[in-house]
């Protein structure tokens, strides 16, 4: 009453290649209903057609096999839907980034080389609330908004910063972050000196002295996805003047998501520390 199918028959029914079915077996995503202990022949059950087709759909959506396995073993519909929704969210974000890339590409190809103005300026030392964590480039955006939230919460805590923020939010990027795509990033917001002996309640937000620095500075206009253009212009100017570089690169978010959703209105100051050699 439950006829078993050979891998070839099952392949025809599900439109999954034999190779793929064997791979799904190895990965534990779709186990054959039976395996002949002597010949190793796989046998599938007609009831496995539907799961196999679900797998096909999820693969079409680019979901990795590991995630598919979790989805399939999820007992209840709720967990299952949550996993799928999470994946669709990732897809959506990826699509948004694709569109941003297209826009950035157009600007880069058609653009008349509008070099942002670069100035040399000394940034004074400040006291700041800060959070630091090792972050990879892929997680930067997510981590950034989390960090911003944490800093905002800390700011709002009574007694921490009597005068509120004394400047825009910023972040420190060690040089090797751009080379390795992964390094410890520090997000901060400058505040007036807090009452002596004051202790922060939360463990992640610390009080940090951001040292003074002399830097080449340019303001990036537009979405952060395009910020490499400003880095390039800044780096070119720095290189042309033959000036040494030292210390982490800083970004100051003059206008960001808290101010407006319209990314084209965003303004970010990039400060590239230098010390004059000439």
């Amino acid at each position: 009453m439950a006829p078993l199918l050979t891998i070839g028959e099952f392949s025809r029914m599900t439109h999954l290649s034999v190779k793929a079915l064997r791979h799904y077996h190895d990965m534990g995503v779709l186990e054959p209903a039976a395996i002949d202990p002597f010949t190793g022949y796989r046998s599938y059950d007609a009831t496995q057609v539907v799961p196999a087709q679900v797998i096909r759909r999820l693969r079409d959506l680019g979901m990795p096999l590991d995630s598919i396995r979790s989805v399939l073993v999820a007992p209840d519909l709720e967990t299952r839907n949550r996993e799928i929704a999470a994946h669709l969210g990732r897809m959506e974000r990826q699509l948004a980034q694709t569109q941003a890339s297209v826009a950035g590409l157009r600007a880069l190809l058609a653009g008349p080389e509008v070099r942002p103005a670069v100035e040399y300026r000394k940034i004074p030392a400040v006291t700041a609330l800060a959070v630091a964590q090792v972050v990879s480039a892929a997680d930067l955006a997510t981590w950034g908004s989390d960090a911003l939230g944490a800093l905002s919460d800390a700011l709002a805590t009574d007694g921490v910063a009597p005068g509120g923020a004394t400047g825009p939010f910023g972040a420190l990027f060690p040089g090797d972050f751009f080379e390795l795509e992964r390094s410890e990033i520090t997000a901060f917001v400058p505040v007036g000196s807090p009452p002596a002996g004051f202790e922060l309640p939360d463990g992640t937000v610390r009080l940090l002295e951001i040292p003074a620095v002399e830097a080449a500075i340019a303001v990036h206009e537009g979405p952060l996805d395009d910020i490499d253009r400003t880095y390039g212009a800044l780096g070119t100017v720095v290189a042309e003047r033959a000036i040494g570089v030292d210390g982490p690169i800083r970004e100051y978010y003059l206008i960001g998501f808290p101010e407006t959703e319209d990314e084209s209105k965003h303004r970010t100051e990039v400060a590239w520390p230098v010390f004059l050699t000439s």
Copy 2:
């Protein structure tokens, strides 16, 4: 006046990892401005920042390095834009397929198991105009519409088919097409017997005798992306009744794109040849 940059400096300016830059060098996508013949150290030029950023954008769009190389060596803007447009077209199609997959997935997960009705019927032999080619699963949709066009053109040719088509368009899929994702597919349209000795002008369209066959048949409703559901149901029924399988599987496009753009209205008959063993 043209200062050379180390790979690390260039990495910081472009937000491309050192590893990626070396890889681009190996692939011939972005050659360093100079290479020290003794140490092998790569040196980059400030003018290479913009090309590097273009590469970054194209990679964000998922364009393979081979294509990026072609784009970069393209001398004129026109060729360049054509390449990019072609890639965006591919992306768009992929997006459409993603959406279709989401819809299909919902139907599969939420669906109340609406099994299409399966009947056993004998299909009589017919004479048909046919085109055949080895096609891989990925190219199936494209090839299908091309083949349909070729067949329509042949039909419209004077004297070929005095009575016009005598039935819907169809296609033959050898069993191993679904297992290997690549096999020789035959698209055909039945016609009345043409005048004796008549010769077709075009080389690709041939006259073919489609043999009679006894088959299990089900009608698939909706887009072809979901046709594996009908294959599964059909295969399950065939397997449950313990019936042998022989010959290529056939699809008849009762209602397709020529009739309506609305894919949910499409109707495709799937005929799975069987010969009764009981």
